[in-house]
């Protein structure tokens, strides 16, 4: 490929031969990928000391194969459990998990809350497109009430998770939500998460023009980004809004940012004590 026209972040951080993103045209996952590379670049982190883990789903292809680093593309829903083994084994490695709303809010829900409770030093980026993208548009535990999908032809009878609230209740050290429109805030959150010594969770509301878009009648990815901008409400402002006012809105911002000893560090302390 003509390197002249290749994005500097790709030249610097992409696996050779993996420049081409594996996602559909206009998919938000690529935006998230770019934000992560930018965060790493701005922090000047060594890619050789980061492990990227992911599960199964479109969002789980963000680092795989694009990122030129150690990449652990695992089974559906289990990436956080794999990542826990990596982090405990070598606490000097930074561990970043990319996952989807099906991957970590459906089948992997337990690993998500347990990782938060354990406060294991992992940054988790959950790309929430409110649908199962990869398998073709089935309802997810994040799909809004009433929405028709491939498997809710008469409308979704269930209610979606507020994932940030859930992860906060489970004990995470850092919790934030942005959309793929809010790339700069997202990069800055990612930088915080990369440096945090505890479990960090960033939910990114993302467009899936091909599946979710089809069901809600908005197939244009750019239009989705415009809508994200319009319906996003900063956390601070949302506090003073009623439940009705918040209907259909996306509350964005940083919800939690506390300090508590992470599990890998606690374990290292134990080892030091035992092996004096």
């Amino acid at each position: 490929m003509d390197q002249k026209h290749v994005h500097p972040l790709l030249v610097k951080y992409a696996r050779i031969g993996a420049y081409k993103q594996p996602h559909c045209p206009g998919c938000g996952n690529g935006i998230v990928a770019q934000c992560m590379l930018r965060a790493i670049d701005e922090l000047k982190l060594d890619m050789d000391k980061i492990v990227f883990a992911s599960g199964i789903g479109c969002s789980s292809w963000i680092p795989s194969p694009l990122f030129n680093a150690d990449v652990l593309h695992t089974t559906h829903g289990r990436s956080l459990a794999f990542a826990t083994g990596v982090k405990l084994s070598n606490p000097e490695l930074r561990v970043v998990v990319f996952t989807g709303d099906g991957d970590s809010a459906a089948i992997g829900g337990n690993h998500l809350i347990q990782a938060a409770r354990k406060n294991i030093e992992i940054l988790t980026v959950l790309v929430n497109n409110r649908i199962y993208g990869m398998t073709g548009g089935q309802v997810a535990p994040t799909t809004p009430h009433g929405v028709k999908t491939k498997t809710t032809p008469y409308g979704n009878l269930e209610y979606p998770f507020d994932l940030c609230k859930l992860v906060e209740a489970a004990g995470a050290s850092y919790v934030a939500r942005w959309t793929t429109f809010h790339t700069r805030q997202l990069v800055s959150s990612m930088k915080k998460g990369l440096l945090k010594k505890g479990f960090s969770f960033i939910e990114v509301i993302s467009q899936c023009p091909v599946q979710y878009g089809t069901f809600v009648g908005i197939r244009d990815p750019a239009e989705m980004l415009h809508i994200f901008r319009k319906i996003s409400v900063p956390f601070e402002k949302a506090k003073n809004m009623s439940r009705e006012e918040l209907e259909g809105k996306i509350v964005i911002g940083e919800f939690v940012d506390i300090e508590r000893t992470g599990l890998a560090e606690a374990y290292q302390r134990l080892l030091e004590m035992m092996n004096l």
Partner: protein, 74 residues
């Protein structure tokens, strides 16, 4: 003032139109021709209006577009 170069990578671009739609200064338009890969690429129609805000770059899902900007003396 800035000297700006907009790079669009035709191998990577999937023609999603995000850059076209998000650019505050309407620098791009959609090509009328289908590329050999079946994609309608963005074309630069008002390159001079680009202010190097990088909104297009940061929102491109395929890292297919980026801005080179140099400050130049006025």
């Amino acid at each position: 003032m800035k000297k700006v170069r907009i790079h669009i990578n035709e191998d990577l671009c999937k023609g999603c139109g995000i850059c076209i739609s998000l650019c505050p200064n309407k620098v791009f338009a959609k090509s009328e021709e289908i590329s050999s890969k079946g994609v309608f690429l963005p074309v630069i129609i008002h390159g001079d209006k680009c202010i190097a805000c990088r909104i297009c770059e940061e929102h491109c899902p395929d890292l297919a577009i980026f801005i080179e900007a140099q400050d130049v003396e006025k």
